[in-house]
Symmetry: C2
Subunit: 643 residues, 2 copies
């Protein structure tokens, strides 16, 4: 068995999109080279990485001690995966040659039995596989598998693929029903194993992924017993209590988990693998388990920006509707993981509810993690920031008002790299009969059925066209996701210039066009992109009395740079008359800004008064949320009081 709806290969897609090409070039031209230097310890002022040197030492090519986090290897893996995709976006022979060299080192570092983790090879060989909860061996393995598969897919080179196959085989030899029990502390290996399964066709990798998923929560005390057995902890006094089963998603089996809990990145990585497996095995029960968790997140535990995991403590989900704006955690990586999850759900059922969330993440809570110059990064993505408080006062210390540079635990930047460079693979999936377009994205996509060239002005304008050049097989269906924010009465679809009025083709968020395609058929879509006022559910305490603005998929925010001091005193009127402006200058050039008449409340100097603050008319300016904090430290809010 395998999925009815399959992902497509990144090499099939060439993106030329006004919005996303720039973002991709930021990754290929700035972030990847910068991270390469970091990994090689060539950037003064940035905390030493030593990650490649660790591999050299493990390979016997260098002498020295291991240095870095226990999961330092994953930095190399994620970088390699990003490099793999970047080579599809922008071929670079020299970069590829350097990546090949690193892969050579990795191969040499691998132990005869297939084991591969430099922390344990170099530093604590006697402690291998004893501390799955804390020591991230399976996590690093998963990332290396993703890198191996990606590098194979985009370059055709299989050296790293073979390394990770041997690594996976070693893992299979260690854990399982008839071997030692085991589950990863930080879920990720399940994703890697699923990719390895698809790249090699070998069922054993899928079986291993299923084992890790289904073993989880069978013995909720597993990590506690593991700790007792080994008698040591990696993080010393900072070690987490292994009995916090919700943090580790071990409180119940994957089928019994009804709410998204615990460390949010680990959670969505697990859900991603669950959905992947459900799709491959056409496992309805597992799909329903995924759907339950999906619903809990998107209906009760997600910021409007797509941010998930609202508390810094444990970088975790909390409870339904607990979505504080100024204390948000909303890790960039968690939003990225949510895209992974959405993609797998789309490969089970192409429903608009999944593509809508994928779009929400792509345009908001993920790319808010990177400075427009590609040089600084947010780990935490708040929806409100107040200099003097944010980053300073208890409760808000994790909420930085500006993006810091590269940091020691640099999980988010390379995660963004691999996401954005592989964007093409999120744009489409394919079944026997149908090509599904999930995102409006300027590109040329080369399928067996056809070459499709998309021109898109999205998200700034409601204008997208699909030029279809059918190949041999001319009768197929093109299914185009129509984002739920598009009002049906404003959507106009033409095929070769002729209007298609029958919107009964739109089902579950997709426009289905079935015909015998010619060599130059053009499907053109136009739709309105009005500024929309959004209200939160009244259960969300922090958003009460407030509204947020969206336009298309883009969430907007208000910054001090445009609106002056004390932006909490600004008010959005009940009826808005918004105008848009394409910004042409400065760091925000290319973004559509929103201007609207609103109010500023001005109180007397008194701290408390019976006098209602006076209302004056002002013009408010909102900018895309993802672009906040690009003009220095200033106040920012997404949710604004309504008046």
């Amino acid at each position: 068995m395998s999925k009815n709806i399959r992902e497509i290969n990144i090499n099939q897609i060439k993106i030329h999109d006004p919005f996303w090409s720039a973002m991709q070039h930021r990754m290929t031209d700035t972030v990847i080279p910068f991270q390469e230097k970091v990994l090689n310890d060539e950037v003064p002022g940035v905390e030493k990485s030593h990650a490649i040197e660790n591999f050299r030492i493990a390979a016997g090519l260098s002498e020295g001690e291991f240095y870095g986090m226990v999961f330092q290897d994953s930095d190399v893996a994620k970088w390699l995966e990003g490099v793999a995709y970047s080579l599809a976006v922008k071929p670079d022979n020299e970069l590829e040659a350097r990546a090949d060299e690193i892969i050579d080192i990795i191969e040499k570092a691998q132990q005869p039995d297939g084991y591969l983790d430099t922390f344990f090879i170099v530093k604590e060989p006697e402690h291998r596989w004893q501390n799955l909860q804390e020591c991230h061996e399976l996590y690093c393995a998963g990332h290396m598998m993703e890198a191996g598969v990606a590098y194979y897919q985009t370059t055709g080179k299989d050296k790293l693929l073979h390394v990770v196959e041997r690594l996976a085989d070693h893992i299979i030899s260690m854990f399982g029903e008839d071997k030692e029990p085991g589950i990863p502390g930080h879920q990720e290996v399940e994703i890697g194993l699923m990719k390895l399964y698809r790249a090699t066709g070998k069922e054993k990798y899928k079986d291993m992924a299923r084992y890790f998923l289904e073993e989880r929560g069978k013995n909720p005390n597993y990590f506690y017993e593991e700790k007792k057995k080994r008698g040591w902890q990696h993080w010393g006094q900072y070690s987490l209590e292994p009995l916090d089963q919700r943090y580790t998603q071990t409180h119940a089996t994957i089928y019994e988990q009804k709410e998204a809990v615990g460390h949010s990145v680990r959670a969505v990585y697990m859900y991603t693998a669950m959905a992947d497996l459900a799709g491959e095995d056409k496992d309805q029960r597992l799909y329903e388990a995924c759907q339950t968790l999906w619903d809990n997140i998107v209906k009760k535990r997600m910021y409007i920006t797509g941010g998930i995991g609202s508390t810094v403590e444990g970088e975790a989900f909390t409870i339904d509707y607990d979505l504080p704006n100024d204390m948000a955690y909303a890790e960039t990586c968690a939003s990225i993981g949510m895209i992974f999850f959405a993609k797998r759900m789309l490969e089970i059922k192409p429903l608009g509810i999944y593509a809508d969330i994928m779009e929400r993440e792509f345009y908001n809570g993920t790319i808010s993690g990177i400075q427009l110059d590609g040089k600084q990064f947010f780990y935490v993505n708040p929806l409100e920031v107040n200099p003097g408080t944010s980053g300073t006062i208890f409760g808000y210390k994790h909420v930085l008002p500006t993006r810091p540079g590269w940091y020691a635990c640099a999980c988010c930047p390379p995660n963004l790299v691999r996401l954005v460079t592989s964007l093409g693979t999120y744009a489409w999936s394919e079944s026997e009969t149908t090509l599904y377009s999930h995102l409006f994205l300027g590109q040329t996509a080369d399928f067996d059925k056809a070459v499709i060239t998309v021109e898109s002005s999205y998200p700034w304008e409601g204008k997208v066209s699909y030029q279809v050049k059918a190949k041999k097989e001319k009768a197929f269906e093109l299914a185009i996701h129509i984002p739920s924010h598009i009002r049906p009465d404003t959507l106009a679809v033409t095929v070769n210039g002729e209007k298609t009025d029958d919107m009964s083709f739109v089902k579950d968020g997709y426009l289905y066009l079935k015909r015998n395609w010619g060599e130059n058929d053009v499907v053109a879509l136009t739709f309105d992109l009005p500024v929309r006022k959004i209200y939160a559910n009244t259960n969300v305490r922090e958003d009460e009395g407030c509204v947020a603005l969206m336009r298309g998929p883009v969430v907007y925010c208000f910054e001090g740079a445009d609106n002056g001091e004390c932006i909490q005193a600004l008010r959005i009127p009940r009826e808005i008359k918004a105008e848009t402006e394409l910004c042409k200058e400065g760091v925000l050039a290319g973004n559509v800004l929103i201007h609207l008449p609103g109010y500023r409340m001005e109180s007397s100097d008194a701290l408390y008064s019976e006098e209602r603050p006076k209302r004056t008319d002002v013009t408010l300016t909102a900018i895309p949320y993802y672009a906040w904090a690009n003009r220095g430290e200033n106040q920012m809010r997404v949710w604004m009081p309504e008046e």
Copy 2:
């Protein structure tokens, strides 16, 4: 020199007030006996106190080890001070006899040189006076001084007074210009020394208080140098960094401190002593320093309830206008300290601005600390509580949704006892020419000039009368504080039934009545107590778009018990039509409740929607803030969105 305006003796006042007598009886009948049992380790289930046993051991009357906090002695001192005042409220020979016995033990525990601190006498005699920052010897000494003075004032017995005089003399022998430098870690001894000065007339105690106050901040690194010198820390890894000079109010001299910073209780205890000294020495510069700090607190750093010190981290002040409701710290003791501060400021200048704050504290942020049954206590006084979040999720863990019972670090309960039992001393002060009434309080007050009997229906009704029976000196001034919330056009004042229209007598918040008083002159005041909508300064982010209700001095809040679930979805209309109801049944009997037409917003199930939540008409009920959390765990808010 001494103050022009003096405090009066607690024995001069007998309170018979519908509101406050019940509160006083709660202290005398429930809290004092309960704490006595706690101090004697007679309450099962309550963490062992051992405080009296520590004194027995130090006195050689018992064998054993010291147990408890380094400041455990202060529990005994605060209890004794409360007992002293309670004996004025409600004489109790048996209680007094038991207190005498404890004082005998304390006297025996005192060392030949006057030293008195059981932790160091019993446990670490070699470490005396080496760790002023952490070890609270001066703090405990200050509380014992307050107890000794109080016990002398109410019982006439001077044994404890002599103990604390010897203790003070010992301290004087240790610290000063020509001796060792030193400042207290937790300010308090300055207050005790000032009281001791007034009780004994000995200037040296006032001089010592001035030394401790003026030495503070002269060398901002004092605690750091002290730490280096001694080479040990009391709290081990939990010790505070002595370089945090703002936490300890050592960042600048008392004259240079312009903002209220650091640990809020320590801060206001210091300001109290500063104001006390400024008054006694008619020190204008010091008074101005106090006024600067006062203004910073009441204009920028105080909750509407009078709560101060908004963050749990360091139990401290933060920055201007940072007043989160659901994360508030607002320690009960800090509000009590603010009353101490206000009283001393009134003794410098009888201004309504001080009496207004004193009233705000008495009716709100202090007594919210005690359950209506007198058995449970809040340390933290939030203005918003959400079960499931408060007390549970990071940031909100210190915010408990219901009052816990007695706790190990039980500073607030005995602080409330001594405040409420000594209430009479806050009601009046006296100058050569004038009797100042600061609070509307049912009572009989016996002055040299006159006996004044006050009948009061405050805070529930705007009706207060002062019956004046002049003694020999008939020509004096009666100055009655008119709270600033009273609208002048609703205030009617009669003297012996004749209306006094000339409100030019009202100056700086006091109504001045100068005449030759007879033996039965009655000044009667009536005024309206409308329900008032209060707006916060727009700089207070957390209150934006919201209003709070007050009636008289009482802040109101909304609880789930009256208003159902999801109270953040309730709305106060722009124009309110409020009605009041005297509650006659249940735990809130005797309190005036507010009912008003309002709205409930109801959203669809969607987390985010373009549809504005639907508005339905509801009747809202508000209860006095201090009485919240007396009906089990439920949601509570002071600030409600306006619609």
